[in-house]
């Protein structure tokens, strides 16, 4: 009998933070990517490093959507939930639709486990799961049994039960075993006992699927027919780091990345710290303020300067951004947005920093804002942010979010030769002749086209100049408190940023003839909007989709695009920040569709909201 096929499946691994769910999720992701599926992932973990074991607060989960066709979201609702304990079951069961499959580790449903999850009755036999197909599997005891011959202590052996779960799921969806076993060999090479226990548990999981006759048969999710090219699986933070390295190469400038540890941005620092052979100078600063200011110092001295943070850190970087705007020096500030205000929910996603990026500084202090739309596109967004910063000598804010930072998807690798040269030559010659005939360097004599000022760096003979945060005379850059000059400079700085609209792509528009509703998004909501739009169109309804990768300035054609549709729906993971900007700038009554629960929009919810708009 041939293996039955599925076009897509959504699987969620859930367990205690100590159960290694992120690890097996990552492994399943890599196996599926290598197998050729299209995929999207959603890791979800508590901010605490180790919340009390077995409690609902300590539940960590990893959702993956694999398919044989192009998909964009990690899926609304799991078809299969793997719950390693009662807390994981309780925390996740409400996300399941009737008919889904639940596989639980039945060994961890003792009275104590149930107590910790505040279960008054055992959900495995109180009928509360009747709507689902439930498979209780004694994962712990089989793992112990399988690892016994190796001489592993039972406490250590128990830790391998996540590999048992992975083995079982790999059997269910016919993932090849060899790459995983190789990975185990490699990863645990230094710890032979752990290596062997994990491998044994993984094999036991596969064998269990095959022999237990619990499951009718495995399924197959065939490879997706993605556009031709070489692919790798990538998460947003890694893609972003690679984008910065690529920009440094194509700008022919060393990269300085100064940052302060903060969730969920720290991995960018970790990634770049490994890439010293690319000339990356990474530094962990004493605080967020220093990180931004150190980057700015590096920019003054002629390096490609980047600092990265998340919302609370962006608050603190405001003053350095203000100085960078005044000094007109290139710098990129990455903000991996997370749920706020204040500490908020560090590991949960949101798009609530748009207005902060736009306006969160004193004085008139405009700057360009670029936003990434998917994990792999963090690469392109980082490259674009560096391009704009260098060309226009301006700080640029690059917005991503928790969903992009840790979410994975296949990435069709760009050809290095296709990446444009983004170098911004330093000024090395005087640009002004004084009345007495002597040559001079005026640091604020602008390029008439870009309005960018020249960038002369220390170490260059004859180009010495002093600049600062005090208002400068246009041209000379000397201190000036002259009223007309200040008004002129304020306008110039705004005009410089506005002018960038001529240099960026237009609205990414997916129009459909006859569509009266435009769904316009930015950042990571692109995925849910795309999925929602596809569903609506599959019903035979007509809808257009627009996406903004530049939030400041807006693409030059945005006003025109907006005017072509009867209604504009703007879904955002905030309370309507882009909608506010659009209403203010274009006087258009856009409709906000908002969600601020720290989670991504669901395609189904997006679909109904779009339908509602169409039939209003």
């Amino acid at each position: 009998m041939s293996t039955p096929t599925l076009d897509r499946v959504v699987i969620r691994f859930a367990g205690d933070s100590g159960d290694g769910m992120q690890l097996v999720g990552d492994r399943f992701t890599d196996l599926s990517a290598a197998f050729g599926n299209d995929l999207a992932t959603l890791p979800n973990y508590p901010a605490e490093i180790r919340a009390p074991a077995g409690t609902i607060n300590g539940v960590s989960s990893f959702q993956i959507h694999i398919s044989d066709h192009d998909i964009v979201t990690p899926g609304d609702s799991p078809n299969v939930l793997i719950a390693m304990n009662p807390a994981a079951l309780v925390a996740n069961v409400s996300d399941l639709s009737p008919g889904s499959t639940i596989i639980v580790n039945s060994d961890s449903f003792t009275e104590r486990d149930l107590d910790k999850a505040h279960c008054s009755a055992n959900p495995l036999d109180d009928g509360s799961l009747d709507a689902f197909t439930v498979y209780p599997v004694p994962m712990t005891s089989i793992t112990l049994e399988a690892t016994k011959p190796l001489g592993v202590k039972s406490r250590d052996a128990e830790r391998s039960k996540n590999f048992f779960a992975l083995g079982l799921i790999c059997w269910m969806y016919t993932r090849p075993a060899a790459p995983l076993l190789e990975w185990i060999d490699d990863r645990f090479a230094g710890k032979p006992l752990v290596r062997d226990a994990n491998a044994a548990a993984f094999k036991a999981g596969r064998n269990f699927g095959e022999t237990a006759e619990l499951f009718a048969h495995p399924y197959e999710v065939k490879p997706a027919s993605l556009p031709a090219g070489t692919y790798r699986n990538i998460i947003g933070n890694t893609a972003l780091a690679l984008g910065l390295v690529a920009a440094s190469r194509r700008a022919h400038l060393p990269l300085v990345y100064a940052s302060y540890p903060i969730t969920p941005a720290s991995d960018i620092l970790h990634e770049l710290s490994k890439l010293k052979h690319f000339g990356c100078k990474t530094m962990q600063a004493e605080d967020e303020i220093a990180a931004a200011t150190i980057a700015l110092g590096a920019a003054f001295a002629g390096n490609l300067a980047v600092t990265g943070t998340s919302g609370p850190g962006l608050d603190l970087k405001a003053e350095a951004l203000g100085l960078a705007i005044s000094l007109e020096l290139p710098m990129v500030v990455v903000d991996v947005q997370r749920a706020g205000p204040s500490t908020g929910m560090p590991t949960k996603t949101e798009q609530t920093d748009l207005l902060l990026a736009m306006y969160g500084r004193h004085g008139e202090s405009p700057l360009p804002i670029v936003a990434a739309k998917s994990p792999s596109r963090c690469f392109d967004a980082a490259f674009e942010a560096c391009r704009l910063a260098l060309k226009y000598r301006t700080p640029v804010i690059l917005l991503t979010d928790g969903l992009l930072a840790n979410g994975a998807e296949p990435w069709r690798l760009p050809e290095v030769a296709d990446l444009p040269d983004i170098s911004a030559p330093f000024a090395t010659q005087p640009n002004h002749t004084n009345a007495d005939g002597t040559e001079d360097y005026w640091p604020y004599l602008r390029d008439p086209d870009t309005l960018a000022r020249p960038w002369a760096i220390p170490g260059t003979r004859g180009m010495m100049h002093r600049i600062g945060g005090i208002e400068k005379q246009d041209g000379t850059g000397n201190i000036s408190y002259q009223p007309d000059n200040h008004a002129h400079m304020v306008q110039l700085r705004q005009a410089k940023v506005d002018g960038i609209a001529r240099d960026i792509a237009g609205v990414e528009l997916d129009h459909q003839d006859g569509a009266d509703v435009l769904v316009l998004g930015w950042g990571s909501t692109w995925a849910a909007i795309t999925a929602g739009v596809r569903r609506v169109r599959a019903r035979g309804e007509r809808v257009a989709q627009g996406h903004l990768s530049h939030l400041s300035p807006f693409p030059a054609d945005l006003g025109d695009v907006l005017s072509r549709y009867g209604r504009v729906l703007v879904p955002e993971a905030n309370l309507g920040q882009l909608a506010l900007l659009l209403r203010a700038e274009f006087l258009i009554d856009v409709q906000s569709y908002v969600q601020v629960n720290g989670l991504p929009f669901r395609a189904a919810a997006m679909e109904s909201r779009i339908l509602e708009e169409i039939h209003r």
């Binding site: 052979h277 605080d287 110092g297 004859g462 002093r466 600062g468």
Partner: protein, 345 residues
């Protein structure tokens, strides 16, 4: 760093004028800052660096205006952040001579964090802190070095804050070079600044500076001609610590290892503390900084500590160089294609 035309030999002998910018100096007449600026401009031609390889960085405050008056590269940055901005410059360009100028409020209040971290990292910066024990630019509030009980606009009943001893702070942060000088002695300033410049690593110099508008005479108790020789304790490496016109005063160490001021004759010159700038352990240098707690008792000036430790930026460069040596210069194509890849079509 081949793209920069860095430090070739000095082509022409430069003089003071070559280090003066065309900007009009705007401190209050009589301000101690003038004397410090003059000392710097006299000194710079002697240091073997050129204006285009020199950067002056400052934060906000009266002292922080100094970069505008130097014909070098300069950044007048953000209140308190000069050590951080300068760290970025040094990281990007370790070949430059980078100076940081600020006041006591700038460096010890709003910028205290950046100062101590620049010092502990040993970034190759020459940090000059002009200590006038007051906020001048904001027109006279007490500063983190003002004495307890200071009556100012913000403390009409006297300040209740215990002040910092800047030298103690710097030594506490294990700065590798720590010195003190004052605005009335150009020769001493020049010598101290020269030493600070020559030191590889973070150098911290406290300069007693008179703010004649908001805190005039703050240092009269130790700097007035009549009392100076009895009140300033010059530190000279390898010499017994003595002061007074005839060296009648000295510094000895008690049974607890604490330095104290004594009469040289009573203790015996052989029993005076011999100053050693290069002691690796900062304890004794710190103890010397505790000899005075304000400008009213004998106060050490000169170099407290001068020890050698690798600089931050040199180590950063070294890690880059080592990585290149180990695995070769990064190949972008290879990097993008690293990890498990697969091909479609």
């Amino acid at each position: 760093m081949s793209e920069h035309n860095g430090s070739e030999g000095v082509a022409v002998a430069l003089g003071r004028k070559d280090w003066e910018s065309d900007q009009e100096v705007r401190w209050c007449p009589g301000c101690g800052d003038y004397g410090i600026l003059a000392a710097l401009q006299f000194l710079m031609p002697e240091l073997g660096v050129e204006p285009h390889n020199t950067v002056f960085v400052s934060g906000i405050g009266c002292a922080a205006r100094l970069p505008y008056y130097m014909n070098t590269y300069g950044v007048h940055s953000i209140h308190g952040r000069a050590p951080a901005l300068a760290t970025g410059i040094a990281m990007a360009r370790p070949d430059l001579s980078v100076w940081v100028i600020g006041g006591d409020g700038d460096m010890l209040s709003i910028g205290g964090n950046h100062l101590i971290h620049a010092l502990r990292r040993n970034v190759n910066l020459t940090i000059l802190m002009f200590n006038n024990q007051i906020y001048g630019l904001t027109k006279g509030q007490y500063s983190p070095t003002s004495e307890v009980g200071k009556v100012t606009k913000s403390t009409p009943f006297g300040s209740v804050d215990h002040p910092f001893n800047p030298i103690s702070v710097a030594i506490g942060a294990e700065a590798t070079f720590v010195a003190r000088t004052h605005d009335l002695d150009r020769k001493h300033m020049m010598e101290t600044f020269r030493r600070a410049h020559e030191h590889r690593g973070a150098s911290f110099v406290e300069v007693f500076q008179n703010c004649n508008v908001f805190n005039d005479g703050a240092y009269d108790g130790i700097l007035k001609k009549a009392v100076r020789s009895d009140m300033l304790i010059p530190l000279r490496h390898g010499e017994p610590i003595r002061f007074g016109d005839d060296g009648q005063h000295g510094v000895a160490v008690n049974e607890f290892g604490e330095p104290y001021v004594c009469e040289s004759a009573k203790v015996g010159v052989d029993h005076l503390l011999v100053h050693d700038e290069h002691r690796a352990d900062p304890t004794l240098a710190f103890a010397l900084s505790r000899l005075s707690s304000g400008p009213h008792s004998p106060t050490p000036v000169g170099v407290f500590r001068d020890v050698s430790r690798p600089t931050y930026e040199a180590q950063v460069q070294q890690q880059v160089a080592d990585a290149v040596e180990r695995v070769g210069p990064g190949d972008l194509h290879e990097l993008l294609h690293s990890g498990a890849t697969w091909t479609v079509g």
